[in-house]
C-alpha cells in the first residue's frame, strides 16, 4: 500500500549506509588484523590497502547516515519515528543537532569520532597503524550493530534510527488514523500527523549543542591508548608507549572538557542545583578520565625509568572498558531510580552488556599466543555468558575472568618489570602513588555508582543514602588533600634520585607562600561550612591548603625548575589548572547560599532541627517583596513565540541601595510527553559570585476582577470573620505616621489599624484609610491589601457616628494577581572552576605539542 506524502528515500539511503558501515568495519577489522600478523611486506601492504579502503568506506557511510538523520529532522519528516519522537516544528534550527544527540544519534557521533581519529592514525601511526586500527575497526563494528535494527534468530539487534511511525504500532487502533472503509491505516495519514512530540526542554540549551560532540570525542579518544596497548601485546613490542603519550594527553583534554561542559550545562540549566551532584551519569564519565590520567602518569614513568609498564597496560585497558561500562549504565535504564538524567531508554540492555564484556575479552583473546589458549578463552567467554542468562552474577565472573586472563597474557608475553626498588626521593615513586590514588578514587566512585547494578545482579534492595553528594564528598575531600600535595611536590623530585638538599632548597618558597595564602583564606572565616560537623570542615580547610599548594608550587616550578621555559611547561600548567579546579570546587561548594529564604511570613512551615526547607519565596505581580539582602519585585512577564518562552521580569533592589539589577528567568512550554512547562534560570555574574534565580511554580491569576467588596460594620476592638480567619479593628488612627507616605501635602488622613489573623495563625497588619483635602473638598479612598490572604480591605464610611460604628469593605479573591514562586541561589567564585578547566586543558594541549615527533619538513620544532 502506498501512503501519500511519505519521503522514504532518506530512510532507505540511511539504512543502506548503516548496513554498509557494519560490513565495511568488519572487513576493515579482518584486513587490519591480517596486515598486522603478516611478516611478508608485500602481503602486509596489500591487506593494509584493503583495510584502509574499507575504513574510508565506513567513514563515508557514517557521514551519510548522519546526513540522512539530519535531513529528516531539518525537514520535519514526521513519518520517521526519530523526527516524531525527538523534534517538532516549532523547534529552533540551532537545536536540530541537539535532537540528533537525544536518541541513537549519540552512537552515531561516537562512531563518527572513531572514524576521524582512525584516519588521523592511518596517517601518523606508522608501524602501529595496523594493530591499532584492528581494535578501532572492531569497536566500530560493535557500535554499528547498535544502529541496524535487524532481527537475528528472533532477537532484535540495535535500533534503526530510520523506522517509521506507522510501523511502530503507534498509529494502530486510533480512529483518527484509520480508514473507515478498510479498517486499516489511512493512505493520507500524514495530513493528520502534522507535528512531532518535541525535544526535551532541558536539552534546548546551547550547551547541549556543543557538549555531546566534545564528550563523545573524549569517549572516542580513550579507545586509542587501549588500541595501542592491544597492539603492543599482540606484537610483543612495548615501544608503543612513546606514541601513546600524546594520545593519552589528548584524551585527558577532550574527555575533561566534555565532562566539564556537561557540568556547565547542569549549572546553567540548574537541573541539579549546581554544576556537580555526583549523579551516576556524571560519575560514569568522570571515572574513565581519572583512570586515563592515572595511565598517562604511569606511561610517563615507564618512558623515563622503565618502571610501571604493567600498570600502564591495565589503566589504559580499564579506561576504555569504563567508558563502555558508563554507556551501559546510562543507556540501559538500569540507573532508573537513582539518576535524574532523561535519557531515552532503549531496549538494548543485553547488547550493551555484551559490548562491555566482549571488549574485556578482546585483548586477552587476540593477544593470546597460541590457538589452544584462544579456544580456551573463547570457551570460558561463551560458558560464562550463557550461564549469566540464568544466573546474572555470572556477568561479573565473566568480566573478572577476562581481567585475570589479561594479567596472564601480560605475564606470558613477558611484559618487563624491574625488580629494583624505586627510591623514595624519586619522581616516579610519587607519580606512581598519585596514579594509585587516582585509581583508588575512581574505584570508590564507580563502586558506589554501581549500586543499582548489584541490586539487579543479586536481587538486593539497596537505595541511595540520605545525602548523596555528602556520601561522596566526605571521602573525596581526603583524595583531594593527597592529590593536591602530590601535584605540588612531585615535579620538584627528579627521576631516579633527587639530592635531598636540592629538593629542600627548591620547595620551601612555594610551601611558605601556599601556607600564607591558605591561612589568610581560612582565617578570614568566609569558609564556614558547619553542616556536616567540624571534622569535615577541618578536612575542607586542609584540602584548600593542599589545592593552593598545588597551584603555587606548579606555577613556581615554571621558574624555579624550568627557568621560565613556558613552552616545556605543559605538565606544570595542567597541574596548576587541576589544583586551581580543586580550589574553585572547594570554595564554591562550601559557600553555596540560598538567598530566597522566605521572610514574608506567608509560610507557616515546620522547621526541623537539621534543615530549614523554606527555600522558595512567593512573589505577586507588582508587589515588592522582602528577600533578605534584596527587595524583589515581579514587575511583568513577556511571552516570546519564537522560543516559546515566557519571561518573568524580576527587579532586585539591594537594601543598601548599591546593587540593583533585573533578572529574566523563564519557563519553556513543551509538548513532549505532555510535560509541564519547564523552568530555566537567569543569572547575574559578578567577578566573585553568580546569583541564580528561577521560577519553581507560577500561576497566571484571574485576569478580570469579578468579586466585589463585601461591607461589614464594626467598632474599635470588634472582631469580624472572613473566609479563612478573622479581622480585628484595633483602633482608628488620625494622621498616623505609618500612613503618611500615602498622603499628599494639605491632606488629612484617617486610617483603620486592622490585624488580620489567619486560620493557620499568621498575623498581618492592614491599614485601609481615607485622606481628605478640606481645602479642595476631595476625599480619596486608599485600600490596603494582605496579599498572603488574597484580601483587600477598604474603609467605606462611618456607618453610625453615635455608636462609633464604621463600615469596611472586604474583598476576597483567590489568585487575584499572577504569582510566581522563586528560588534564588548564590554561588561564590564559580568562575574559578571554569577558568581552571581552561588552564588545565591548555596544559594538556601544550604537552601534546611538546611531545609531537619532529616534523620531517621542520615545520614543528621539538625542543
Amino acid at each position: 500500500m502506498k501512503y501519500i506524502g511519505e519521503h522514504l528515500l532518506p530512510g532507505q539511503l540511511g539504512h543502506f549506509a548503516a548496513v554498509l558501515s557494519l560490513v565495511a568495519s568488519l572487513v576493515a577489522t579482518i584486513a587490519f588484523f591480517k596486515s598486522n600478523k603478516s611478516n611478508i611486506t608485500a602481503e602486509k601492504l596489500s591487506w593494509l590497502r584493503l583495510a584502509r579502503a574499507a575504513f574510508i568506506t565506513e567513514t563515508v557511510a557514517v557521514i551519510t547516515i548522519i546526513a540522512c538523520v539530519y535531513y529528516i529532522l531539518a525537514n520535519h519528516l514526521f513519518e520517521y519515528n526519530y523526527a516524531w519522537e525527538h523534534s517538532d516544528k516549532t523547534l529552533q534550527a540551532k537545536y536540530i543537532f541537539a535532537c540528533l544527540w537525544e536518541g541513537q544519534g549519540s552512537f552515531l557521533l561516537w562512531i563518527f569520532w572513531h572514524c576521524i581519529l582512525g584516519i588521523v592514525l592511518m596517517a601518523t601511526a606508522k608501524k602501529w597503524e595496523a594493530g591499532v586500527l584492528t581494535v578501532i575497526s572492531f569497536v566500530q563494528f560493535c557500535l554499528a550493530t547498535m544502529l541496524i535494527g535487524i532481527y537475528f534468530f528472533g532477537v532484535k539487534v540495535g535500533m534503526d534510527p530510520f523506522i517509521l511511525v506507522r510501523t511502530e504500532g503507534l498509529l494502530d487502533n486510533a480512529p483518527i488514523f484509520t480508514d473507515m472503509v478498510t479498517g486499516k491505516l489511512r493512505a493520507d495519514y500524514l495530513t493528520v500527523l502534522t507535528d512531532g512530540s518535541g525535544l526535551n526542554a532541558l536539552l534546548q540549551n546551547y550547551w547541549m549543542v556543543i557538549h555531546p560532540p566534545v564528550l563523545f570525542l573524549g569517549f572516542a579518544s580513550t579507545l586509542i591508548p587501549f588500541a595501542f596497548a592491544y597492539a603492543g601485546l599482540q606484537n610483543n613490542d612495548h615501544s608503543w608507549t612513546k606514541a601513546a603519550i600524546p594520545w593519552a594527553c589528548f584524551s585527558g583534554a577532550a574527555l575533561g572538557t566534555g565532562v566539564m561542559m556537561g557540568a556547565a550545562w547542569a549549572y546553567e540549566s540548574l537541573s541539579f542545583g549546581g554544576y556537580w551532584a555526583w549523579d551516576p551519569v556524571e560519575n560514569a564519565s568522570l571515572v574513565p578520565w581519572l583512570v586515563m590520567v592515572a595511565g598517562l602518569h604511569t606511561n610517563l614513568i615507564y618512558k623515563s625509568t622503565g618502571y610501571a609498564l604493567k600498570s600502564t597496560y591495565i589503566f589504559y585497558v580499564l579506561s576504555f572498558i569504563l567508558i563502555l561500562y558508563s554507556t551501559f549504565l546510562t543507556r540501559s535504564g538500569i540507573l532508573g531510580e537513582t539518576s535524574v538524567h532523561a535519557f531515552t531508554e532503549q531496549d538494548m540492555n543485553l547488547q550493551l552488556y555484551l559490548l562491555v564484556n566482549v571488549c574485556f575479552w578482546l585483548v586477552p583473546f587476540l593477544a593470546a599466543s597460541d590457538v589452544k589458549t584462544k579456544l580456551q578463552y573463547a570457551a570460558i567467554f561463551v560458558v560464562t555468558n550463557v550461564l549469566s542468562f540464568y544466573f546474572p552474577f555470572f556477568t561479573l565472573i565473566s568480566c573478572a575472568a577476562a581481567f585475570v586472563y589479561l594479567l596472564v597474557v601480560m605475564n606470558k608475553k613477558a611484559v618487563p618489570s624491574i625488580q629494583k626498588e624505586e627510591s623514595t626521593y624519586s619522581r616516579e615513586f610519587w607519580m606512581f602513588i598519585g596514579s594509585l590514588v587516582l585509581f583508588l578514587a575512581s574505584f570508590i566512585i564507580i563502586a558506589k555508582t554501581s549500586v543499582p547494578v548489584y541490586n539487579k545482579l543479586f536481587g538486593t534492595k539497596i537505595a541511595p543514602p540520605e545525602d548523596v553528594p555528602f556520601s561522596y564528598n566526605q571521602i573525596q575531600v581526603f583524595i583531594a588533600i593527597i592529590l593536591g600535595i602530590l601535584t605540588a611536590v612531585t615535579q620538584y623530585f627528579k627521576y631516579k634520585d633527587t639530592p635531598k638538599d636540592y629538593f629542600g632548597k627548591k620547595i620551601w618558597l612555594p610551601t611558605v607562600i601556599a601556607v600564607v595564602i591558605s591561612l589568610a583564606i581560612s582565617l578570614s572565616g568566609s569558609m564556614n561550612y558547619q553542616q556536616h560537623g567540624t571534622g569535615f570542615m577541618v578536612a575542607i580547610h586542609l584540602a584548600l591548603f593542599a589545592a593552593i599548594y598545588g597551584v603555587v608550587a606548579n606555577v613556581g616550578y615554571v621558574w624555579i625548575g624550568m627557568k621560565g621555559k613556558l613552552k616545556m611547561a605543559g605538565a606544570s600548567v595542567a597541574h596548576a589548572g587541576f589544583a586551581l579546579l580543586l580550589v574553585g570546587i572547594l570554595i564554591s561548594s562550601a559557600k553555596k547560599e540560598v538567598l530566597s529564604w522566605n521572610t514574608t511570613g506567608i509560610t507557616v512551615f515546620e522547621r526541623t532541627k537539621d534543615q530549614d526547607p523554606a527555600e522558595n519565596i512567593t512573589l505577586f505581580k507588582g508587589i515588592k517583596t522582602d528577600m533578605g539582602k534584596y527587595d524583589v519585585t515581579y514587575t511583568r512577564d513577556t511571552t516570546n513565540n519564537e522560543d516559546r518562552k515566557k519571561y518573568f521580569e524580576l527587579k532586585f533592589e539591594a537594601k543598601d541601595g548599591k546593587d540593583n539589577f533585573t533578572l529574566y528567568p523563564d519557563i519553556m512550554k513543551i509538548n513532549k510527553g505532555r510535560q509541564e512547562p519547564s523552568a530555566n534560570p537567569d543569572k547575574k555574574h559578578y567577578w566573585n559570585k553568580d546569583i541564580f534565580a528561577y521560577a519553581t511554580t507560577w500561576s497566571e491569576g484571574t485576569p478580570t476582577d469579578t468579586t466585589s467588596f463585601k461591607p461589614m460594620q464594626l467598632k474599635e476592638g470588634d472582631t469580624v470573620f472572613y473566609s479563612s480567619g478573622l479581622l480585628v479593628l484595633n483602633k482608628v488612627e488620625v494622621n498616623a505616621p505609618e500612613f503618611q507616605t500615602k498622603v499628599l501635602p494639605g491632606e488629612t488622613s484617617m486610617a483603620l489599624n486592622i490585624s488580620v489573623i489567619s486560620k493557620e495563625g499568621g498575623r498581618y497588619q492592614a491599614r485601609p484609610g481615607i485622606v481628605i483635602n478640606q481645602a479642595l473638598g476631595t476625599i480619596r479612598n486608599i485600600p490596603d491589601t494582605v496579599m498572603a490572604q488574597s484580601l483587600v480591605l477598604q474603609f467605606n464610611k462611618v456607618a453610625d457616628e453615635k455608636k462609633r460604628l464604621l463600615e469596611i469593605g472586604v474583598k476576597e479573591n483567590k489568585n487575584m494577581n499572577p504569582l510566581m514562586t522563586l528560588k534564588v541561589y548564590q554561588f561564590p567564585f564559580i568562575s574559578l572552576v571554569w577558568i581552571a578547566v581552561v588552564i588545565m586543558v591548555a596544559g594538556f594541549i601544550m604537552s601534546i605539542v611538546q611531545r609531537l615527533p619532529p616534523s620531517p619538513k621542520g615545520g614543528l620544532k621539538a625542543s
Binding site: 503507534l170 486510533a174 535524574v340 532503549q346 570508590i444 526547607p613 527555600e615 510527553g673 510535560q675
Partner: protein, 140 residues
C-alpha cells in the same frame, strides 16, 4: 617487600574500609507497610501518586509545603509531606521515588525524583496517548 607493595596494601585496606562505611550510609527500598515498621529511619519508596486524592500545594499560602497521597504496588497508601516547592511534572508522573522518614502516620519526604512518562518503554500506551492528544488538539 617493596615500599610500593606496602602502599598498595594500605590503599586496598583503606578502600575496603571506605566502601564498608558507605554501606552503612545506604538506605533501602521499602514498601509502605515495611517503612511504617521503621519509624524515623531514612528509607526510599517507589510509589505512584494517588490521583483520586487531592494534592495540597498552594504557593499563595505556603510555597514550601506539598502534601499528597502515595500508593505503592501493594496498594497501600500513605500521606506524604514535602517541605519544598512542587516538582514540575509531578502530576503527570508515572512513578515517583521518594526518600525520607516515616513520622507517625505520614511520610516526611526529603527528596523526590519524578519519573516522567517520556520513557515509552515502561508504557507503550503513553506514546499513543501522547500522539492522540496532539492530533486531537491540532484538529481543534
Amino acid at each position: 617487600m617493596k615500599k610500593i607493595h606496602i602502599v598498595l596494601l594500605v590503599f586496598i585496606a583503606l578502600s575496603i574500609a571506605v566502601l564498608i562505611s558507605f554501606m552503612g550510609n545506604l538506605s533501602t527500598y521499602e514498601t509502605i507497610a515495611s517503612a511504617k515498621q521503621k519509624q524515623g529511619k531514612f528509607v526510599t519508596l517507589s510509589v505512584k501518586m494517588d490521583k483520586s486524592q487531592p494534592m495540597v500545594y498552594d504557593p499563595v499560602k505556603n510555597p514550601n509545603y506539598l502534601a499528597f497521597t502515595a500508593l505503592d504496588t501493594l496498594g497501600n497508601a500513605v500521606q506524604v509531606v514535602y517541605h519544598n516547592s512542587k516538582p514540575t511534572d509531578m502530576e503527570k508522573s508515572e512513578r515517583i521515588v521518594i526518600g525520607g522518614t516515616m513520622a507517625g502516620d505520614h511520610f516526611e519526604c526529603k527528596n523526590i525524583l519524578v519519573r516522567c512518562p517520556s520513557k515509552y518503554k515502561d508504557d507503550p500506551n503513553a506514546a499513543k496517548r501522547n500522539l492522540y492528544d496532539q492530533t486531537s488538539s491540532s484538529q481543534n
